[in-house]
Amino acid sequence: MSYRVLNSRVPRVDAFDKVTGRAQYTDDLTRPGMLYCAILHSPLAHARIVRIDTSRAAQLKGVKAIITGRDVPDVTFGVSPARYDETILAVDRVRYVGDEVAAVAASDLETALEAVSLIEVEYEELPAVLDGLHAMEPGMPLVHEKYARNLCAEVHWNFGDCDAAAKEADLIRTDTMSSKMQDAAFIEPQAVLAETDGAGRLTMFSSTQAPHYIQRTLAMALKLPLEKVRVVKPAVGGGFGPKASCSTAELVTCMLVLKTGRPVKMTFDREEVFLHSRARHQFFHTMTTGVKKDGTLLFLRHHCILDGGAFASFGIATVYYAGSLLGGPYRLKNMIYDGYRVVTNKPACGAQRGHGAVIARACFETQLDRIAEEIGMDPLELRLKNVMGTGETTCNELYMSSLGMRECLEAVRDASGWRQNRLARRSEATPPLPPPSIEGAEDSGKGGEGKRRGIGVACGFFVSGAGYPIYRSTTHHATVVTKVNELGGSVIVESGAADIGQGSDTVLAMITAEVLGIDVADVKAITGDSDLSVDLGAYSSRTTLMAGHAAKEAAEACRDRILASVAKRLGVEAADLYLEDHRVKSRRGSLDFHSIREEFSREHFGFTDLPADGELTFREAARVAFLDCGTIVGTGSYKPPKLGGSFKGATVGTSPAFGCSAQVAEVEVDLATGEVSVLKVTGAHDCGFAINRTQVEGQMQGSVSMGMGEALMEEVHFDGRGNILNANLAEYKIPTSLDVGQLNAIIVETIEPNGPFGAKEVGEGAIMPTIPAILNAIYDASGVRITELPATPERIILTGKEETE
């Protein structure tokens, strides 16, 4: 199948505005007379609020409103209905350093900040739970009374028969992997500007990933009817998960708008981004895996504790994903999973790229590497031996309607020179790391000496859109309204879908252009507004598949209306007509469009570029349809079919399609300092069908970069009282242009039957292999197995030293 627009490298539709500084992000918006909001945060990890005195703050000139926990509606809310545990501001009790105690609206930001500093709060400090690993132990203080043993959610799954499988195993290994709390480190901090109209309808502009869920949460938390709340997403500077949660900035800003009747704006400072968090959990995984000596995978027993911080947020889904997404991409008939998501007195964790599955994947894929070594098998061959293919179902009932896992592995094997690299490495014995010494460090400083290279491989897969919404409903997951203007010259695609930088507006415009046989430049995507359509938002890598389906259907409806009008005029069958290259064409030879052309010409639009009589332009066809039936509007929607098994929690991990990824990482380890350089990552991802090849590569490269940061440097540090020690982008290190090596992206296409034009995800599946591929390469280079992330130089040296001793 050949396409005019799809599968190309057409530039993003918002690139011009972004490269000239014209794109409007939320913090760029202003309103006459708007107020500025600032929030007072708790300095303590766990305390009772004894008294709040706002009188001095209220007297400050320019202060228009102050709200505290006493003023917020008596409503708890959150992400998962069964675990609503948040209030707009802390009510009587703070649960982490940064918990929101009060908010001020003032005529300028300086005044708002000064007012916040004048609010007096008397706290009675309570013992805090800061260690997720021990949060469930008897005698620990409780973060929320409703969560006994601080256990917010637990999952117990048992698929197949692990005990029977263990009897067949030639090798059984138990390994662990732990990580640290992370930050998504999007460059645009959360920002909000809210206002009301005369009818009391609230409009909130926000740097969000999910206008629909935020609209719902605002309505619930503020006790407003849903139709009184509109959420609009301007350009968003990255989200990666946390911006799918409703932020306190959104909630208090709206409360202050309702209280003052004036527009109110708030932008988090960078420290507040870290404090509000909702980013990646801290994970503690233990996995026991059994294989035959030929490498056949037999079973996996998996135990995991997730430190979720102060609130549930997306954490229920996280604990399920951590288990369910090990069901593939390998044939694994027997799997036990026991997952525990605990609450602690730290910032709340939630979803982040590769939701729940990234550290689990790192644990499992490094374990596979150890297994390969023990049974004397090449780790890439071990994976090839076990990969699933199209049409297979995992033990937890995830159906792979397309899965190019084998193709991805073979692609990275060939493109990275895996065999030669690996053979070269095997010919040298890998020495253990020498103990750190000043001499060694000096040697490495002279260049090259004391450095060793290594290569590692890993795989992964991910959902292409969650099979179910976060609230129980049979709702459509995506709807689109497409309008063709009366001359066909501009086609407007309206959708609630959220482009947060991943490029979904371009995907919707491309699909529409393809169906209507016009150029992307003729299509304008207006999106991210809850007034335009229902779309669940940018999370779980769902937009290309789900909003893409809806956009395709809406464009097809427009096409059918237009062709029906033309066919009626000409007395031919509409089914014989099609649109291509700005023309109406017939499958049954040339048609006489004379009569239509005459009518069009009489209207004197002044077009001088009309083709010969044998051809009719899209513009003329659109005009005919408009004259017949008014504005041409097409609607489309998408709802996944019923998916998954009937066991408890079977819905999490289901998806209409699954993307998959393989990567080979090449690293250099400085044996004296423990410093790791990632020289090159060769990645192959099965995205079903690449709507936009440049954007697919961009998602793959961005995933590798984020995974690399998480593998080597990213860690939110806490002191013993729950304070974040590095709530800034200097000390919370993310990769710079000097840290990332060459990122070679290979697109694998399998044509997914459930995807629009065969397309499925790429935004998150591509991060799955990165951490373990790098860790396996570090081992290959240095002989050091890292089981605690991130693999900082210090950790590599100390682990090497322990192993030597």
Binding site: R9, P11, R12, D14, A15, F16, D17, K18, V19, T20, G21, R22, A23, Q24, Y25, D27, D28, A184, A185, F186, I187, E188, P189, A235, V236, G237, G238, F240, D269, R270, I500, G501, Q502, G503, T694, Q695, E697, G698, Q701, G702, S703, V704, S705, M706, N728, L729, A730, I734, P735, T736, S737, L738, V740, Q742, L743
Partner: protein, 161 residues
């Protein structure tokens, strides 16, 4: 107490009254509506607010507005000629160097300064020059390719003259 300062921004003369503590970033965004300059951290960690001050890239969140007195500022709004993109901007668009776009203005201005100073930068020089501008979306690969391509286009254009 405000001070009256004169400065040139994107070839236009401005006379503005500023508090001594106001940063150049705040002046540009809040007082002059030049919101193309982005703020990601306000403390010089992320590079999103990069502008050129007398041709040198600076973090405008770390420069006081008063320090720009009598000097020339180039922001992202001044890089294109109307709707005609600068070759660096064109390369960013065509190479897919833009995703969320929040780092883009700073990246473009820093790249512009690099190419003016080093017309034929190596990959290593580009990586070094852009190492103070954080990007979380792209992994930098396509940004570096765009800068390389822009440098080549500019070289070719110069050679042709």
């Amino acid at each position: 107490m405000k001070h009256l300062i004169q400065l040139t921004i994107n070839s236009r003369q401005y006379e503005v009254a500023v508090e001594p503590r106001k940063t150049l970033a705040e002046l540009l965004r809040n007082d002059l509506g030049l919101t193309g300059t982005k703020i990601g951290c306000s403390i010089g960690d992320c590079g999103a607010c990069t502008v050129l001050l007398d041709g040198i890239p600076v973090f405008s969140c770390l420069v006081l507005a008063m320090e720009a007195e009598g000097r020339e500022v180039l922001t992202i709004e001044g890089v294109a000629d109307g709707n005609l993109l600068h070759p660096i901007q064109r390369a960013f668009v065509e190479r897919g160097a833009i995703q969320c776009g929040y780092c883009t203005p700073g990246m473009v201005l820093n790249s512009l300064a690099l190419i003016r100073h080093t017309p034929r930068p190596t990959e290593e020089q580009i990586r070094r020059a852009l190492s103070g501008n954080l990007c979380r979306c792209t992994g930098y690969q396509k940004i570096i390719e765009a800068v390389q391509e822009a440098a080549e286009m500019l070289q070719a254009a110069e050679g042709g003259q």
